[in-house]
């Protein structure tokens, strides 16, 4: 198992455990996004770069990555969704390492655009511009604000902005295609003057190559359409829309989830973060 794969698996274990411990949360979205988040936090992000999780409901995966990067300790994980806790139900900038407050779909993308514009203003050269990465859900693309921001990013030739669409094809109630179809998705972004790459969002080589392509593309923002599987890594969740959330995991469900993620029964108590 590669280091990134191991990190991603650990993110998945922590994320589902946080949701189980809190009694609510969005497991399917965390599991589809975990590989890209691992690739960002254990490879791609440079110190001045920013990451905005516009699909803020996947924050357990983000919190897991930030914890593994040492931004807060194990005890803090146990505060997820708890009264007075550090780790709120949606990401906020009061949490160490969280670059933008998100949770209302569409808005994080505009914030990322503003970050990219602002960081450009304070950079002397294009080469010095920090990059801003922003992850959107596929259902999120139904928000009109997303396309306002997409139009502006193309207009301003923001080469330091890279969006990732976690394209797991499912949203809260059902498949995207049944709620509000997104296709042709790559053509939409191209029409907004974006550099478009479509990849397997669970292939670390493809993810790294797409990020390299984004950094090498000047004068245009890049969108990485990451084809992913909702619930990836947990047998009974994969491809099942009802695991979008907000769900309560039963004891046998978290046992199975952790087992699927390679945690034997005797080690599963290590993932009981909420006390």
């Amino acid at each position: 198992m590669s280091d990134l794969q191991a990190r991603a698996t650990e993110i998945r274990r922590i994320a589902v455990s946080l949701i189980h411990g809190a009694g609510s949360g969005h497991p399917g979205s965390c599991l589809s996004a975990a590989d890209v988040i691992a690739a960002l936090y254990f490879g791609e992000l440079r110190p001045a770069d920013k990451f905005v999780l516009s699909k803020g409901h996947a924050c357990p995966a983000l919190y897991a990555a930030l914890h593994l990067r040492g931004l807060f300790d194990r005890a803090a994980l146990g505060s997820f969704r708890r009264l007075g806790g550090l780790l709120q139900g949606s990401p906020t900038t009061t949490i160490p390492g969280v670059d933008a407050t998100c949770g209302s779909l569409g808005q994080g993308f505009s914030i990322a655009l503003g970050l990219a514009l602002g960081l450009r203003q304070v950079s002397d050269t294009v080469a010095q511009e920090p990059h801003v990465f922003v992850m959107l859900g596929d259902g999120e693309l139904q928000e009109g604000e997303v396309w306002e921001a997409a139009m502006a990013a193309g207009h301003y030739h923001l080469g330091n902005l890279c969006a990732i669409v976690d394209y797991n094809k499912m949203q809260s109630d059902d498949l995207n295609a049944r709620i509000m179809g997104l296709e042709p998705l790559d053509a939409k972004w191209r029409a907004f003057n974006w550099n478009v790459q479509t990849i397997d969002g669970h292939d670390f080589g493809a993810i790294a190559a797409a990020f390299a392509n984004a950094r090498a593309t000047a004068g245009r923002p890049t969108v990485i359409i990451a084809n992913t599987i909702k619930g990836k890594g947990v047998s009974y969740m994969e491809g099942v829309p009802s695991w979008h959330g907000s769900v309560k995991l039963k004891p046998e469900e978290i046992r199975q989830a952790l087992a699927d993620l390679g945690v034997p029964a005797e080690r599963q108590p290590e993932y009981a973060f909420h006390v």
């Binding site: 920013k50 906020t92 900038t93 009061t94 670059d99 933008a100 407050t101 949770g103 209302s104 569409g106 808005q107 994080g108 993308f109 505009s110 914030i111 990322a112 655009l113 503003g114 970050l115 990219a116 514009l117 602002g118 960081l119 203003q121 304070v122 009109g144 604000e145 306002e148 921001a149 139009m151 502006a152 207009h155």
Partner: protein, 326 residues
């Protein structure tokens, strides 16, 4: 004397500059003091006064097109990148961004200013669809949001530097029409402080924006009957100057609030909340009475919808008559 007596507007207010022009010029003048200041526009720079800033500082003027919700999010991102953004639009379009303002700006306590022109019936002939009568109420309801509505061009000119110096989210209401002069150049603006612009002992008229001049008209009308009305310019609506309201309650015992806004949730609501908590007194509410407006010139609309001096004077008589009866 009845309220039907021929009404002659006071001359305190020679017709002055518009608040939006004063805003645009003050913002431009402040640019040197605030190197991180950037101004955001949604295709209405000519209408909001920010064309002055665009001309002087094109590199610090960010055009977002007709996409106000994105503009607010961009302002949040710029603030996170260390810039000082002032996002500008018309008040009615600021209303459509209210969820972006609450989520992306106010919740993370970002230092973003939102400045909106064409508020209330002052938007005039464009009609009800352009007349924001709910913006003060909506912005005031957001935790941590400061809300400011200056009365004339001089107050606007003095308010802009104070607003930029204030750290935190703030909503500024400017104005479309030439505003009558209330203050002279010696005026000192203090965020969070109301100002007595005319003293009196019988009733206090608390007003903001264009209604301050009309409140002074009302005070003139009342004076003809020997009624001494105090007029307070309450340009900071949130946080409201509670200490001044308590003083006025004790010294005058009755209130009228006057705003170019719905009577629900705006200045009147803020004053009523503060007085109910501290020093209850009879209050009458001048503003648009929970209906939509229509096309017309601002002064015609003010007459029709009961925002002009005679209506304020009548409300003051009602408030005075209620003293001691609650």
């Amino acid at each position: 004397m009845s309220d039907k007596t021929a009404f002659v507007p006071s001359l305190i207010g020679t017709s002055g500059e518009t608040l939006r022009e004063a805003f645009g010029k003050a913002l431009t003048a402040a640019a040197a003091d605030y190197p991180s200041l950037v101004v955001l526009d949604a295709d209405v720079a000519g209408g909001t006064g920010t064309h002055h800033f665009r001309r002087a500082h094109p590199d610090r003027f960010i055009q977002l097109g007709i996409a106000e919700q994105n503009m607010i999010g961009v302002a949040a991102g710029l603030a996170l990148a260390g810039r000082l953004p002032v996002a500008t639009t018309f008040a009615v379009f600021a209303l459509r961004t209210i969820e972006q303002v609450r989520q992306s700006i106010a919740y993370p306590k970002l230092n973003v200013k939102i400045a909106a022109s064409h508020p209330g019936l002052d938007a005039g002939p464009d009609g009800a669809s352009a007349q924001a009568l709910e913006d003060i109420a909506a912005f005031r309801a957001i935790p941590g949001m400061t809300v400011v509505s200056p009365a004339d061009a001089i107050e606007m000119t003095k308010a802009v530097p104070a607003i930029l110096a204030h750290v935190g989210p703030l909503y500024l209401r400017t104005g479309r029409s030439p505003a009558r002069r209330i203050f002279d150049d010696s005026y000192v603006f203090e965020l969070g402080k109301g100002r007595i612009v005319r003293d009196g002992k019988d009733v206090t008229i608390v007003a903001c924006g264009v209604e301050v001049a009309r409140a002074l008209d009302a005070a003139d009308l009342l004076a003809r009957d020997g009624i001494a009305a105090r007029v307070v310019n309450m340009s900071t609506i949130k946080p409201i100057d509670e200490a001044l309201l308590i003083t006025c309650a004790r010294e005058t015992g009755a209130f009228v609030t006057a705003e170019d806004h719905n009577v629900v949730g705006g200045l009147g609501g803020a004053v009523a909340e503060a007085l109910a908590r501290t020093t209850p007194a009879p209050i009458e509410f001048i503003g648009v009475q929970d209906v939509f407006g229509e096309s017309g010139e601002p002064e015609e609309l003010a007459d029709k919808y009961g925002l002009a001096g005679p209506s304020i004077a009548a409300a003051a008589r009602r408030a005075i008559a209620r003293k001691g009866k609650h």
